[in-house]
């Protein structure tokens, strides 16, 4: 027991919790980084998160049609399809990266989404770092 997956979460500032003080969300969101559009995420950010011992990455993006930069969310989705292959080749299961599209100005869903992701990560167990 006792395994606590380390989850890194990036959330789009325009769609998630912009009416709320992120710091107030508590310690469950230890590695939560708000970004100005999920489309600003570079594949490198995710690779670095895994290299620096994350067990999973959750991206909270805007709903389809609501991206402030037209299609940043969709671009990130496309990026993830390629990146997941790269991750899998290194023994990082595809399910360790998740993107959720929604709008949540009050940040009410964030804790639930993080908990859900952590649950799936716990089910997967610690990341096999043999190839990293």
């Amino acid at each position: 027991m006792g395994y606590k997956p380390k989850l890194v979460c990036f959330s789009c500032k325009f769609g998630w919790a912009y009416l709320r003080d992120m710091n107030a969300l508590g310690e469950d969101v230890e590695f939560l980084t708000p970004v100005e559009c999920s489309g600003r995420l570079d594949a490198l950010h995710l690779l670095k998160a895994f290299k620096e011992r994350a067990d999973g990455v959750l991206i909270l993006a805007c709903e389809e049609g609501h991206c402030h930069f037209q299609e940043g969310n969709f671009r990130t989705l496309k990026m993830l399809y390629l990146l997941r292959d790269v991750l899998e080749a290194h023994g990082i299961e595809k399910a360790r990266v998740r993107i959720e599209f929604s709008l949540d100005p009050e940040g009410r869903k964030i804790l639930g989404r993080i908990a859900r992701m952590k649950e799936s990560l716990s089910a997967l167990g610690p990341l096999n770092r043999a190839l990293l």
């Binding site: 594949a43 490198l44 690779l47 671009r75 496309k78 790269v86």
Partner: protein, 330 residues
Amino acid sequence: MGEKPKVAICWLGACGGCDEAIVDLNEGLLDVAEAVSIEFWPVAMDYKYDHLAAFGKGEIAVGLVSGHVRNSEHAEVAHLLRDRCKLVIALGACACFGGTPALANLVSREEILDAVYVKAPSVVNPDGRLPQVETAWEEEILRLPAFFDHVYALNQVIEVDYYLPGCPPPSELIRNGVRAVLTDDLPPKGSTLAPRKALCETCPRNKTKPMRLEIHGPIRRIHEVEADPEMCFLAEGILCMGPATRSGCGETCIRSNTPCRGCFGPVPGVSDPGSRFISSLAALLKVGTTGDPEAVMASLGDPVGYLYRFTHPVSTLGARRLSQATEETP
């Protein structure tokens, strides 16, 4: 005139292509031999490691070292070269970034040994015997280098002063590099002795690359299509690493109607060319409202093999420094 500067040329985990590129200097090699004294070159002449060890610390002016580090012999020779050579130049993609053999980092040492010595169709090995670092034979102990769990770029094992990339580096680049050393006309240590621009900037097809590049529909792979000999590959939806790759190769592949695979390594300032390419490709690929982004991205086939073909050990996920503690040594 004083003594000629001494040069050592050595291969570690290499195919010999980089040595061949030196031989390809042709008559130019005579000029090189005129200007320097080649003291060590195992591929071309009968030298043993003892010969190298007999030199004093820093007595050799420059060591041109090709190949990656995959076993304890490579590591030992790399350290010896570092000690005896004043300057060490990593020659070729394997020494600079690990090269194609480093795609083996995507499987473990155990899987490799099993595939090669047990499962290969031409092998009969019912007892599953694997090569041992030490084997007692009659009164003797026979020794083999230890096979590491990872392929390392040269600078993950010893300090490297300069880099001459390419698979192999063009002879001209080698000649200029050696000349720069001899005339002491060198950039700061750690520099790559090749232009800083991206390949696209020197590519003859650049004029056909649209200002706003967009790729519609699936990515095409070069063996599946008959590529237009004039058109920018990316504009035709064929993957080309030119935008993320350093120039200086003379566009050999492009001129043979083959897209760039990235053997010159990343442009300055980019640490992980593969991930840079993934991010740009995601922006370039237009899927349309009815398209299936997953299927379009899957058309790339083997993204890791393509995007990290030469650079896996220096990539974000693949980077490691050789630590004797983590690798078995004899």
